[in-house]
């Protein structure tokens, strides 16, 4: 029986030990049931992190991540920009060269056309001079004939008048000539004045058209800018926040396309206006010449009537002095010969028409050549754009693989860093937890604004970390 009790003793001792531990545990957490006292601990977690045995490794990983990010960003932007920049520089040089050559060619064509026109003009002037000379010669020939015959025809000069009533005739001739000369002078002035007036009118009309065109051009440009403003603004904002170079380049291309469209639209508008202005100038010039010619014809007719009237008056005067009837006086015709004049005028008109046609043709030829060259330049630019795009694709392709490798390495580094950081945090939390349990602090926080009655466990935790470190 005694033996049975003795066997119970170790059992009772073991149970008592367990109870003791349990009670100690209850003692340890006695605040758990006391609502009025919750000890709070605080720690500077950043400081503890720096003391962690893995801190140097974390820093090393951070450095590698930053380095790799730098490499990636430069490989996605810098290298692409450099390679593309070099390529574009070469293409730009080509374009400048082509544009320079075209400009030179345009200048050469312009010069050539101007020369041709000058040549035409020279020929026209020479033709006019030849007609005028012919006209003068014919006038003189008529004068000579009338003097010899003394019968009708063109009047002889007063010095050459001889025969019966020569003195009276001479006096009247002088009067007639003075009056006729005055009339011709007046007629010339009238023509000059009319020409000036008409030219000013034409100039005003062309200036008015140019003003209108300028206003239209400005308005068109404003409307075009306004229409694209929101889109451009939106794209510019997008470019600021674009995540990848590819995306940024895509947006930049869109922006460039808008700018190109704007420029093309403006160029078309200006070219149209220039053409319209030239067309009007040409029409106005033709109309001006026609009007001047009509005015001259009308004036000539009036002049002819006036000269005839003066002549009749003179005949009556001489008849009064000499007693010879006016019909038998044969004073001749002071008017310029109508047939010659008609020929002269017709020739002038024809020459003017030819001159106009030549000018128009030269203008058309110039415009045609200009359009041709502009097309060529446009083609070069399009070709350049295509080549840039191809080059970009090539660079992208060659870099894509390398970039993907680096991106993968970066991602792996980041994951490694994250894992290490989380492990460090867990380890530190575990250590702080141990310290907190020893100090009977059930709640430990990191990050606060004001701590008044909290126990700062930073130093004691730091010591614990340092003690564990060599292990």
């Amino acid at each position: 029986m005694k033996k049975r009790y003795l066997l119970l003793i170790p059992l009772v001792l073991i149970i008592s030990g367990v109870v003791f531990l349990g009670l100690r545990h209850q003692e340890l957490f006695k605040f758990a049931s006391a609502e009025d006292a919750l000890p709070i601990g605080v720690v500077d977690f950043q400081k503890l992190l720096r003391l962690s045995p893995s801190w140097d490794r974390l820093m090393e990983l951070d450095r590698k991540v930053t380095e790799m990010e730098g490499v990636l960003s430069s490989s996605s932007e810098g290298v692409m920009d450099t390679l593309l920049g070099e390529h574009m520089l070469g293409l730009k040089r080509e374009r400048v060269k082509a544009a320079g050559e075209m400009e030179k060619e345009m200048l050469r064509i312009k010069k050539q056309l101007e020369q041709e026109l000058t040549e035409n003009k020279k020929q026209a002037v020479e033709t006019i001079r030849a007609i005028e000379e012919k006209f003068t010669r014919m006038q003189k020939a008529r004068n000579t004939n009338s003097q010899e015959e003394d019968q009708g025809g063109f009047p002889a000069s007063e010095e050459e008048i001889r025969g019966p009533h020569a003195a009276e005739k001479k006096m009247v001739y002088a009067e007639i000539r003075d009056s006729v000369d005055d009339l011709y002078l007046l007629s010339k002035r009238q023509v000059a004045a009319k020409t000036l007036e008409l030219e000013q009118k034409v100039k005003a009309r062309i200036e008015e058209l140019q003003k209108k065109q300028d206003a239209e051009s400005n308005s068109f440009e404003m409307k075009m800018l306004q229409a694209n403003q929101a889109r451009k603004l939106n794209l510019q904002l997008k470019i600021q926040v674009a995540a990848t170079t590819e995306e940024r380049n895509k947006i930049q291309d869109e922006l460039n396309k808008i700018a190109e469209d704007e420029s093309a639209q403006k160029e078309t508008m200006v070219a149209g206006m220039h053409q319209e202005s030239e067309r009007l100038r040409s029409l106005e010039t033709v109309a001006l010449r026609k009007e001047i010619f009509a005015f001259k014809v009308r004036l000539d007719a009036e002049l002819s009537q006036k000269v005839s009237a003066i002549q009749e008056k003179a005949a009556v005067k001489i008849s009064g002095k000499t007693g010879v009837p006016p019909a038998q006086l044969a004073l001749g015709n002071f008017n310029q010969p109508q047939d010659l004049k008609r020929e002269y005028n017709e020739k002038m008109l024809q020459l003017q028409a030819e001159q106009n046609k030549a000018m128009e043709q030269a203008g058309q030829q110039y415009e045609k050549k200009k359009t041709e060259l502009a097309e060529r330049l446009k083609k070069i630019e399009q070709d350049m754009f295509k080549r840039v795009m191809e080059k970009r694709k090539l660079i992208e392709k060659s870099q894509k693989e390398e970039y993907a490798k680096k991106a993968e390495a970066l991602s792996s580094l980041k994951k490694q860093r994250e894992r290490l950081f989380l492990t460090m945090v867990d380890e530190l939390k575990g250590m702080v937890g141990k310290v907190a349990r020893k100090k009977r602090v059930p709640l430990v926080l990191a990050g606060y604004i004001s701590s008044l009655d909290c126990e700062d466990l930073t130093e004691i935790s730091a010591r614990a970390i340092k003690e564990e470190k060599p292990r």
Partner: protein, 285 residues
Amino acid sequence: MKKLKFKNVMGVVLPLLALGILIVGIWYGWQYFSLKRALYCPSVGQIDRAQIMNLREFQEADKALKAYEEELQKHFVNEARKLEPARQTELFMKLKEQLDQRRVKISNPLFQRAEAAVAQVAREKAMTVILDKKIVVCGPEDITQDVIKKFQSAEKLAEPVSIPQDSSGIGYFDQEVIRSLKPFLTVDVQLVRIYQDMEKELKEKAGKSSPAQREELLKQYTERFESQKNQMLKPLFKKVSDTVDKIARGKGLKLVLDKEEVMYGGTNVTDDVVKGFLAGEDFRQ
């Protein structure tokens, strides 16, 4: 007979006693090991806010808002080209207001439900304060999964009407409210002017220097600006800190946190801090 009785009694009592002690020991032993990982403070809990924000419901709300934002952006681009610049701004403001309204309509119910779920779990677990996990080093129970379960359940959740009296000694205040007070705004305006002046000065100097010198200049100016900023803001922050300490002491608080870090419960001292901060102070610079 007497001897036999004693023996019989001991034979029954001792095993019973041993069994009782064993049960108590196992109970405390279990409690010890189960609480080894988490220190025992039943009135405080913690939540992983990031996990809540990543829930499908919040992600879908975000997606819907983004789609609506894109729709408004397209509308703006189409309409703005027909309008004068002044009208464009008007339109922009109008659309921004629409977006804000939609945000309130979509997101607010979710936030309210999340708050209600937190409150309900806290009540069920008799917790008076719930903190954001990111500031907790050790101690409180993590109730994130309970909150998620509650949030995603079909149960109708009532918004917390009143929060039980908290004896944890944890207070909080809204730092954003303090930063929007006039003394801080005045300093902000002055800092913007200083920044602009420095920027102008830097541009002038940088124009004549080499890239390396420019880098050095930029570094110098950044340091100068930061030093100026600290110098101007330091007295204000100190004043805030002193006020918070004073108020916390008056209210018997042990710790004051930022509002963002307290998800439920705690003592809000924002109004008191604002009043204390502004009371009888001359913030003229």
